[in-house]
């Protein structure tokens, strides 16, 4: 009877065991599917951005025989450098293009011809002539920046099969561009403008530099405020503050603050810093302060967790050999907690880098061409630049938008890499 019962129990266990194994296998499969789904989405997103954005890093130049004729430039006999700066370089380019395609006579066709060259070419010719006035009256072969539409055709982004009315690049422009390409007068170059210029309404002249510098200034202000204040608050709350109702209340409030939608901080920034303290609108200073308020709770919470994680033995050993509380904290607790604090801070900063909503309220969502020279100059930031380009009617901005996203992601990856590097360094010691 005993053995019979044993047998039955074993059978029961075996039956249920099989079920338990199956359940575990299923559970593992779900987990893998979840990871796979995440990867697929991430891959699709990245692939889309990279495929769309890569063409933005190159653009075409067209070699034009420019005749710096004094009459076309509208210069007087004895011209000054001021006259040179004000001369009509657009007319020179137009004349040169007409000379290259002498059979173009209809007005509408001429306008299409002029649209092959970017408006920015006028300014680069101006700078050339101002730097070297001896050019006036001479003929030179000069590589001029192509219009974004012409460039997009040369890059093969315009399908010739679509109906002419539905294309920005017309048949006749395609013919001219093909002719230029056969003569070796077109060239694809790396787009340095994208990294060296501020915003522009012409896709081929638009650059990311103003937004990049704006982001740097904003983050600098954020870091200088949020890091010291956040870490000091964490140290005080962990090491010095008594445990009572008041500190409990403060703790709950800090945790709640971390969950407040970021736009609320923007409203606060508008009401307090701009309207009350009269700080300048659209400045990285105000943006930085607002973002610092937003990242403070994150830094305080992660720093407290890092300090809490320091083994009590270190703490007590230091106190035991006669170190003061300040010495204990500065010499023993903080160095051990530093990797955690830095990781938290950098993640907080990365979050601030991607933020646009609070900046809308304080006027940093704006068209700004100039690269800011300080924290009080009008500036915009990378995510705002992406938003503004995505909103522009010109087609050429589609690829710029994706390229700007790539720059922003590179920035984020750099910041996260810095966090990993710093943590390794501190941990090794």
């Amino acid at each position: 009877m005993n053995s019979n019962e044993d047998y039955r129990t074993t059978a029961l266990i075996q039956a249920s065991l099989r079920k338990r194994y199956a359940r575990e296998r299923r559970f593992r499969l779900y987990g893998m599917l979840a990871v796979l789904a995440g990867f697929v989405f991430l891959f699709l997103l990245l692939a889309d951005i990279i495929i769309k954005g890569t063409p933005a890093f190159t653009q075409h130049y067209i070699k034009v025989t420019v005749d710096f004729d004094r009459d076309s430039l509208g210069l007087p006999q004895n011209f000054t450098s001021e006259d040179l700066a004000r001369a009509d370089y657009g007319a020179v380019i137009k004349r040169s293009l007409r000379e290259m395609f002498p059979d173009v006579s209809i007005r509408a066709e001429k306008r299409r011809l002029y649209r092959l060259i970017s408006i920015g070419a006028e300014y680069s010719l101006r700078d050339m002539v101002v730097a070297d006035p001896a050019l006036v009256g001479k003929k030179r072969n000069i590589w001029l920046l192509a219009h974004s539409e012409a460039s997009s055709y040369l890059k093969g982004q315009v399908a010739a099969a679509t109906e002419e009315a539905e294309r920005k690049v017309k048949d006749v422009q395609m013919r001219w561009l093909n002719a230029l390409r056969e003569e070796g007068r077109t060239e694809l170059r790396f787009n340095t403008t994208f990294f060296l210029a501020g915003d522009s309404r012409e896709p081929e002249l638009a650059g990311i530099k103003a937004a990049l510098v704006g982001s740097l200034y904003t983050l600098l202000v954020t870091f200088c405020l949020a890091f010291p204040i956040g870490v000091m608050a964490a140290i005080y709350l962990e090491e010095f503050a008594p445990r009572n109702r008041l500190t409990d209340l403060i703790e709950i409030n800090i945790n709640n603050l971390a969950a407040v939608p970021s736009i609320v901080f923007g409203l606060l920034g508008l009401a307090v810093f701009i309207n009350f303290f009269e700080l300048p609108r659209s400045a990285p200073l105000v943006g930085g302060i607002v973002l610092a308020l937003m990242t403070l709770p994150t830094i305080i919470i992660t720093s407290r967790a890092a300090i809490q994680a320091v083994p009590p033995s270190i703490h007590e050993a230091a106190l035991g050999v006669g170190a003061s509380k300040l010495q204990t904290i500065l010499h023993h607790v903080l160095p051990v907690a530093m990797p955690g604090i830095l990781t938290g801070s950098i993640i907080g900063m990365a979050q601030a880098l991607g933020e646009t909503a609070p900046l809308l309220m304080i006027g940093m969502v704006a068209f700004i061409m100039e690269v800011p020279a300080g924290v009080t100059d009008p500036a915009t930031v990378l995510p705002v630049q992406i938003f503004l380009w995505a909103d522009s009617p010109e087609r050429g901005f589609t690829e710029k938008t994706s390229a700007a996203i790539m720059v922003l992601m590179a920035f984020l990856i750099m910041m996260n890499a810095a966090a990993v590097y710093l943590r390794r360094r501190f941990e090794r010691k």
Binding site: R111, I119, Y123, T162, A165, E166, R167, K168, S200, R201, E202, L220, V221, F223, C224, L225, F227, P228, I229, V231, I274, F277, E278, L279, P280, R281, S282, A283, L285, G288, L330, H331, L334, P335, M338, G363, V365, A366, F367, I368, M369, E370, G374, V375, T376, D377, P378, A390, D391, S392, P393, E394, R395, F426, K429
Partner: protein
């Protein structure tokens, strides 16, 4: 080593924070022009700002797209370096906004008319072009429409065919701007009100004056509107309302049952959604129609299709003037304001072949342009 590192880190952070704090003194003046306002004028103003910055020694102005109402609110908030110098508007400044300006000490306002913009009612180029009348637009989108017995009822129409048997039997689905937008203001004022006047009672109401309270109440009764509406308007205005005020309350209300979808100030987004959904209809500025002519097509409204010529001639019924306003008190204090305005109104910007015209701005007549330039030169003060 380790501890000095940590201490150094702290010190540098603290010093930087102090430095940051010491530069927080308010900036007394600016050398960049600050511009706010309409999202419709924004694409034109930014092009002018860019050319202005590149071709002169002035810094290029900073332009925020806040919507017409938001821009005028900021503009009228006072005089000083932290208020905007110029605001763009896709409609004329309202009396109430002008009064707000005056009460905040902004008394020298210069009005500049820059051109016209049509509001396109468009759908995907893949669908067939719609031929609408203003009445169709009103009946499709108003919150309350006249029912069989002449009384206003909640809008019962769900397809375009219900509105007008000649239209296709597709569900009405309209993507348009939110109430803060000047495009929306102009749309309700031009299209909705125009369509509402096709109803005899509503038109009669529109024409009644403030002294005809009993007549207004009679028409309201005919329309099945409670007298409380009149009292509420009277209370909010602080005086007896005109028939026009009651008309606005009745005809300007857009349906809120999900048929009209507020698509934000992002006109590109509307174009994208129209491309994805051939049944949807979108409302946006003409410049976006021109840029995206291969993706969307404008509907014919009252027999006229939106085109450069039809808007410039005033034949297209849903078109409106575009303005910007200059704060006269800032001219001379912030460098370049008058020069920027001169660039905006120059021939190479808004002339027949100007770069703004190329981007879809409908230019002024020559005489109008001369008058506008004169106003800028003399800083003629706006009076209302």
């Amino acid at each position: 080593m380790m501890k000095t590192n940590v201490i150094m880190l702290f010190h540098s952070a603290a010093v930087a924070a102090l430095l940051g704090a010491s530069t927080t003194a308010p900036a007394a003046s600016r050398d960049t022009i600050s511009i706010v306002g309409s999202s419709t004028v924004y694409p034109f103003a930014t092009v002018v700002a860019e050319r202005f910055g590149r071709s002169t020694d002035f810094k290029s102005p900073k332009i925020e797209s806040t919507g017409t109402g938001g821009g005028l609110k900021l503009f009228c908030s006072g005089v000083g370096a932290n208020t905007p110098d110029v605001t763009n508007a896709s409609r004329r400044i309202k009396k109430s906004e002008f009064d707000n300006c005056l009460s905040n000490g902004v008394d020298n306002v210069v009005e500049v008319l820059v051109g016209y913009d049509g509001i396109a009612i468009a759908n995907s180029a893949k669908a067939s072009q719609l031929t609408l009348s203003l009445r169709d637009v009103y009946l499709a989108l108003a919150k309350d429409v006249p029912g069989k017995n002449g009384e206003l009822i909640a809008n019962p129409y769900s397809t375009w065919k219900d509105v007008n048997p000649q239209l296709p039997a597709v569900n009405i689905e309209v993507l348009g701007p939110p109430p803060t937008s000047g495009t929306r203001d102009a749309f309700v004022e031009l299209a909705m009100a125009g369509g509402a006047k096709s109803n005899g009672d509503l038109e009669a109401l529109y024409k009644l004056g403030a002294d005809q309270e009993s007549e207004i109440r009679t028409v309201m009764k005919k329309l099945g509107v409670s007298g409380a509406v009149y009292d509420a308007i009277a209370q909010s205005k602080g005086k007896a309302p005109k028939g026009k005020d009651v008309f606005k309350a009745l005809a300007y209300a857009v349906r809120e049952d999900g048929v009209y979808i507020e698509a934000g100030e992002n006109d590109n987004l509307i174009v994208q959604k129209l491309e994805a959904n051939p049944n949807a209809v979108g409302i946006f500025g003409y410049s976006f129609l021109e840029e995206n002519g291969d993706k969307v097509q404008g509907s014919v409204v009252d027999g006229v299709a939106p085109s450069f010529e039809s808007i410039a001639s005033g034949n297209y019924p849903v078109s409106r003037p575009l303005y910007f306003y200059i704060k006269g008190a800032h001219v001379g204090k912030i460098p370049g304001i008058q020069e920027y305005a001169a660039e905006f109104t120059s021939n190479r910007a808004m002339g027949e072949d100007g770069y703004l015209t190329e981007r879809g701005l409908i230019p002024l007549e020559d005489t109008e342009r001369d008058a506008v330039r004169e106003d800028i030169k003399t800083l003629r003060q706006l009076e209302m």
